[in-house]
Amino acid sequence: MNDSYTEAHVLSQPKVGLGLRPIHYPHLETRPNTSVYWFEAISENYMDTEGRPLHMLQLIREDYPVALHGVSLSIASTEGLRPEYVKQLKRLKDRIEPWIVSDHLCWTGLQASNLHDLLPFPYTDEALTLLLKHIDQVQNALGCHILLENVSTYLQPPGSSYAEWEFLTTLAKQSGCKLLLDVNNLYVNAINHRFDPVVFLQAIPTELIGQIHLAGYTDMGTYLFDTHSKPAYPEVWELFSKLIARAPDIPVLIEWDDDIPEFSVLEKEAQKATQIWNYHHGHTHTESVSASIFAHSL
């Protein structure tokens, strides 16, 4: 082991964050001590407001790093970007000074009928060319790199010439943006579209990953549905463990958007991620702790 590796290894620490949700504002307004390293805010909830949400985000920003995570960029839309959206996002970015700005690798509908969903598109050279142009436009307008997240899908559009992981890797390498790797979405797609999640995980070079998401899905019987309404499943924790073992410095975020529990329950989820990080990179290896997470997190 060389010296620089040792130094980096010692200086690393788990960077586990939580999604900022209005239901927790009353708790967070009291500025409690938390075990949270950072918060992720849904950009759209704060970019068109001068009211309490913005006030709350600014308060959080005084104490924590904040990521702005959008759902409406619609970067894969053939109609192009909405200039007013990008302008509002830039304004929010300048106000908050986030450490990460991200959105999803998808389109969300047409401008005349927005579906407000994270929609699948075929992984083709046509899409790749379009995305490279749009990523360049957004990054220039914002004056920073963005991260794009892999989304859960329930169908595969016609005409793909790349596997999802090949497309993500090619896009990140060619555009200069990084990936927000949602391990839950990866697993959901692996089951829905019948591929080996480990193949996907190992195909993505860790230097292309700028952030990780963890969340829970709902098993609908005929498919897995990305609901963010439960703790992450053991299979997702196992994939996360494999990933974080290779990349200790990537920030990790626990997502929970439906049936949101008390803040302390989310903190416990975050602690699970920290325990797994410690298992791989901490001073003491606690194999039994890690094993118990995989066994009891259902």
Partner: protein, 265 residues
């Protein structure tokens, strides 16, 4: 069948996800997609169509909570579905969806005996907008008192300060949302309400005004000077008395709605 371009695929997909119940999904799309896990192509597309309806209904329900309370679940969901089918979302921000819901209710008249529903919807849309407006710093009581000695002054109000009036008891009805509908006695909808909405300490307050106070404040909010506003209101309410005017000024001071005062030029 030739390969779809990305643009053709997105148009087909979008049309299918927004289609009405009786319409079949586009055959070209159904035949070309690969459904996930054990779904059929039709059901895979239904996941997206259902999700679209659910998300937009939720957005309407969040903004129009009191309309929902009055209408009840079944009727509100029916109204929301009809509204969504004739008004696709053109906004990027889901929480801004439903601006014309009041006009839709006006036209639809789902309950002929509940004529106040469009006004209730208008009140809720205004309330939502005020929530996102900035909180101003009110001028001090001392400044107000000193300036009012100077004669014909003009008031500048905070951006969150708005008036709302209705021939119906919109605010009283709105306050009932969240309570159990069955346990509430039938409210008397037919009482006119004149309301002042404003923000203080990042919270929205609603204050009921007398018609004469409302008239004077409405004139001041349009930018008329104090003298002009008094003249205008007196022409509509010749019986307006000094105590009523003083009472309104007490309200203006107490609520902190004044952001600035301009002296006579």
């Amino acid at each position: 069948m030739g390969t779809l371009t990305l643009n053709q695929y997105q148009r087909l997909f979008s049309h299918t996800a927004c289609r009405q119940d009786h319409e079949a999904p586009g055959a070209r799309l159904v035949e070309s997609i690969t459904p996930g896990k054990d779904l059929t192509s039709f059901d895979a597309l239904e996941v997206y169509r259902r999700g679209y309806l659910v998300r937009l209904t939720e957005a309407l329900g969040e903004t129009y909570e009191a309309v929902w309370w009055v209408a009840g679940d079944e009727e509100f969901f029916r109204l929301a579905k009809t509204f969504i089918q004739c008004h696709p979302s053109q906004t990027y921000n889901l929480s801004s969806y439903g601006e014309v819901f009041a006009e839709f209710l006006e036209k639809e008249r789902p309950f002929p005996d509940l004529g106040f529903l469009p006004d209730l919807a208008r009140f809720e849309w205004l309330f939502k907008n005020i929530f996102h407006l900035s909180q101003h710093e009110p001028v001090s009581q001392e400044t107000i008192q000193a300036m009012t000695q100077q004669g014909n002054i003009r008031f500048q109000f905070g951006p969150s300060v708005h008036l709302f009036s209705s021939p119906y008891s919109v605010y009283n009805t709105w306050k009932l949302r969240g309570t159990c509908r069955e346990e509430q006695p039938q409210p008397d909808w037919n009482i006119a309400q004149h309301l002042l909405l404003y923000k203080k300490h990042q919270q929205i307050f609603v204050k009921e005004l007398q018609p004469v106070e409302y008239s004077l404040l409405e004139n001041l909010l349009t930018g008329l000077s104090l003298e002009e506003a008094l003249d205008n209101s007196l022409s509509h309410y010749p019986e307006m008395s000094q105590p009523e005017i003083s009472q309104l000024f007490q309200v203006m001071i107490h609520t902190g709605i004044i952001q600035n005062i301009e002296g006579p030029s």
